[in-house]
Amino acid sequence: MAQIIGGYFTSHVPGIGGAIVRGDQDTPYWKPFFDGFPPIREWLAEAKPDVAVVFSNDHGLNFFLDKMPTFAVGAAATYDNADEGWGLPVYKSFTGHPALSWHLIDALVRDEFDITTCQQMLVDHAVSIPFELAWPGAESWPIKLIPIAINTVQYPLPSPKRCLALGRAVNRALQSWGGTERILVCGTGGLSHQLDGPRAGFMNPEYDMFCLDNLAADPEALTGHSAEQVAELAGTQGVEILNWIAARGALGDLPLTQISRNYHIPISNTAAASLLLEAA
């Protein structure tokens, strides 16, 4: 039986990629953020997951406003990263797991999630930076990828409640998968930040703590807000917490142990965090 071994959550700010390129990990500015990762890397090296189901959002690399899906699930054999236009290195390609992808897609549509199925999909820094943070400098990614993209760009966004429900449906689907894979669930993005408008630079440490304190034990607490209220609380890009909420849902009802948690302000314009939850 396939096993969900835990959840890995992290900010995915492009600036992290720049810091890695420059080798800035131990500078006073970056160290407090990168300090969150050694325990995550150790745990991953020990736990040896086979496949990651990653909830993240596209930043205008793969999806445009001509066709903007609420939820998109990848079903490709390979996912490429690509030039996003502002100078990050192009990261290694990712190996998919089409059989498990299609199993998820079948189960999600049966569960009345109206997903968009993507047999071809570019993944951006929202996937590659979390992978690079987890497996820095790896020759090839040691784990397969199933990307699930949530619309955090164009309103209406799905509500936190709907995102948690999506995650839970993914959990049910993973539980009914007949394979023997060790499955890691990832949620990327956030925490509070806002890039646009007169409120640019806004953060909300109090709301971030509320999310970090409740995510594992009481994820429902995060679903009392509309997506618009989350934007008000967390900033216009802070709505990326939706990816964390969906990933939390995909961990299901297993008891969760917090292996690692880190929160630091500021990274770029962002309140940055990482979190590792082990499923028992």
């Binding site: 406003l65 630079g201 440490p205």
Partner: protein, 130 residues
């Protein structure tokens, strides 16, 4: 246009005040965002740099959008329906990072904007850094 009950509630109010990138803005900004989306391709970035006027014309930017781009006026680009995820690719061409954008939009100096970002750390409840 007749009032839309979907907008006549709290979510609608939040969308207007922050403001959020909803249908009103997405419809208005389509051409500008389409141009910025094209900047994923290095050849398109070069074409923009080589002849900005011609490139903007190719994407049929509105007059308001063209002026906002010419003026490097980020708030005006947003007002013209630009979305920051796409505009960031234009900002890259112009050599502006997210902190430059923040300074431009808030009217602060870059240093003042950076100091403001750092100051948020003081609001972390009980110094919970982890």
């Amino acid at each position: 246009m007749t009032p839309d009950p979907c907008y006549a509630d709290e979510s609608a109010a939040i969308r207007r005040t922050i403001p959020l990138f909803d249908g009103h803005r997405a419809a208005r900004g389509y051409a500008l965002n389409a141009m910025c989306f094209s900047f994923n391709d290095a050849a398109n970035r070069a074409a923009f740099r080589a002849d900005e006027d011609a490139y903007c014309a190719r994407f049929a930017l509105t007059e308001q959008q063209r002026k906002a781009v010419a003026d490097r006026d980020v708030l005006a680009m947003l007002e013209a329906g630009g979305n920051v995820y796409y505009l960031a690719k234009l900002a890259g061409i112009l050599g502006l990072g997210v902190q430059d954008l923040g300074a431009l939009q808030t009217g602060m100096s870059l240093d003042a904007f950076k100091a403001m970002l750092t100051a948020w750390a003081e609001k972390i409840p009980n110094g919970k850094h982890a």
